[in-house]
């Protein structure tokens, strides 16, 4: 049925071209087409503008490097309003701190602190070390993915392979309802209910931590992974399944050895898009992870994610300040990462799916 629809479309567009070459010129038609084309370009323009404007605000950090270190020091000082004498003491103190630190931040360049281990943007001597934020994001994302991916894939297998058609018609829309829950509601639920329940079960110290945040963010990713996996599973040709069942395999064996292998690229794409959702999730991270930027591998410690940092601090920074630029830099990193994930899911995995079925036709 699907194939016939695709053929129709091709015929349709082909026919249109033939018909319209013979028609006489009509201004309204010509104008409408131009306007529609121009508007359709808007989505491309928006993506490019996002690129430009998020990067533009992040760029000054790298420009500061090119100035002499002395001028950078005054710059930093200006934005925090210290007087001359304070300046020298601050500078001395800085040097001491730097000497005692093994980190290679040898002077006050804000961009040099980007690779350090402390995120302390609001202090006399601001440090913009992104490592704790990276690590925190990684930890939360991993927890969320380990929770959401297996459960959504299993649920999708049940819906596609085992459920009766009538049950399926109920399960699918109900799980998709979860996609309609605003992330602030899931965050609120995590903050009010899950945090307390998990603390009672596991008995850890800080109520809000990577684990609670991870599970809550997993909830936000479940409908994405579930829906796309289910699509991938049902896209496997019926003939495969019938052949397997006809040879005497059980439905589980068919699911395991026939349907799942055939749907692997689609499932990967689903997980990758789920990962993108978790990675950029802001409100749940803000509300449920505790927001403490520290370096630890314990899943029950508080963490601060990249996106939550932007959400929490952007409202308080001064326009054009170093801190402001660093937050935009974090935004650029988030944007590049999700853009790349989407591109991989879109081009790489989709090509795999298409090649698989076409070679078997």
């Amino acid at each position: 049925m699907d194939f016939s629809r695709i053929n129709n479309k091709n015929k349709n567009t082909g026919k249109d071209i033939v018909t319209f070459n013979k028609k006489k010129f009509r201004f309204s038609d010509w104008f409408a087409e131009k306007v529609i084309k121009a508007v359709a370009f808007l989505s491309i323009a928006v993506v490019i503008l996002i690129f430009i404007f998020v990067f533009r605000e992040a760029f000054p950090i790298f420009k500061m490097d090119k100035k002499t270190s002395a001028s950078t020091v005054t710059l930093v000082q200006e934005s925090y309003g210290g007087s001359g004498t304070e300046n020298s003491t601050v500078k001395k103190a800085d040097n001491q701190v730097n000497n005692s630190n093994i980190i290679n931040a040898t002077d006050e360049k804000p961009s040099a602190t980007l690779l350090s281990n402390t995120w302390m943007p609001v202090s006399d001597k601001p440090r913009f070390g992104l490592w704790p934020l990276f690590l925190g994001t990684l930890k939360v994302t991993l927890i969320a993915l380990l929770f959401a991916a297996p459960i959504s894939i299993m649920a999708a297998i049940y819906t596609a392979m085992f459920a009766k058609p009538r049950v399926r018609e109920i399960i699918k829309p109900v799980i998709e309802l979860l996609a309609g829950f605003p992330s602030v509601v899931i965050g609120f639920f995590a903050l009010m209910v899950m945090a307390t329940v998990f603390q009672n079960i596991f008995g850890y110290a800080s109520r809000l931590n990577a684990f609670v945040g991870g599970i809550a963010m997993g909830l936000a990713a479940i409908p994405i992974i579930y829906t796309l996996t289910e699509d991938a599973l049902t896209a496997v040709p019926k003939t495969f399944i019938e052949a397997s069942l006809g040879l005497g395999a059980s439905r589980r064996q068919t699911a395991f050895y026939v349907v799942l292998p055939a749907a692997v690229p689609g499932i990967f794409a689903a997980v990758v898009l789920g990962l993108g959702r978790i990675f950029g999730e802001t409100m749940i991270a803000l509300m449920a992870t505790g927001n403490a930027a520290m370096i630890s591998m314990n899943p029950f410690d508080s963490v601060r994610t990249l996106s939550a940092t932007i959400g929490a601090e952007m409202a308080e920074v001064v326009f054009g300040d170093t801190h402001y630029n660093v937050l935009f830099l974090i935004g650029s990193l988030l944007f590049i990462f999700t853009f790349a994930l989407n591109a991989v899911a879109e081009f790489y995995f989709k090509n795999l799916v298409i090649r698989r079925y076409q070679s078997k036709k």
Binding site: I36, I175, P182, V185, G187, M192, L273, S307
Partner: protein
Amino acid sequence: MNRNVKDTIFEGLTGISVLLIIFIIVSILAITIVGGWPNLNWTFLSEFPKDGMTKGGIFPAIVGTAVMTIIMAIAAVPFGVITAIYLAEYASEKSVIAKIIRFAVKTLAVVPSIIFGLFGLGFFIGFIGKNMDGLLNGGELRWGQPNILWASLTMALLTLPVVIVSVEEAIRTIPREMREASLALGATKWQTIRKVVLPGSVSGILTGTILAVSRGAGEVAPILFTGAAYFLSNLPHSLSDQFMSLGYHIYIMSTQSSNVDATQPIQFATTLVLLLLTFSLNAVAVTLRYRIRKKAK
């Protein structure tokens, strides 16, 4: 192990996964309803917050959310519908431009919402707003700061893909024969789109709009620094005013409020209002979409 036993275990595990997800959905709904219902009454919906936001209602947040989503829909729906028309009617399957547009739409759909917030701040407020102030107000600060217009436009960009996808799907369900009949009667392509394609996809446009409104009403990250306000004693009466929003209100009340425990009933009731709003909108959209898909078969 016996094959039948393995089969049963595997089927059981997958079934349990489904039940677990449904259990989570039901418990979120149930806990929000139980926690919020006792406090949900007419005064709560129609009053301003009182006593440093520890008492009173959420009227300005409801109005703010409504106004913001209306402006957002006015901006997003026409652009979304036109892009969908281009993708479904004008672009051929193989056209490179159409492929790039499709990729751009997908990118917009997966970009984290906080990035839209940054973009709104950098582009709408920092670039357009600042320049508007320079040209119109002689440098006096009016548009170069967070307000409801910039928040709505930021949200419109976020919801654009939602509209495009729904409308394109609906346009594609219109039978080819109807277009051909129209063309055969001598109608031009634009006339066919206006008189045959668009009327046939009204339910799709409606679905897209409802989904976009539901998404826009629930998102908080894009408006965090483009226009949402902590507390306002007035409703917004111009596009350059800030506004209160339900989602932002929940976030503020549950994390930044001076007395989180005392305001818990307000938090739950606000969450219930937001959840009911997005939930009912989604239910309508899902039903509409289900009908469209059934018609297509």
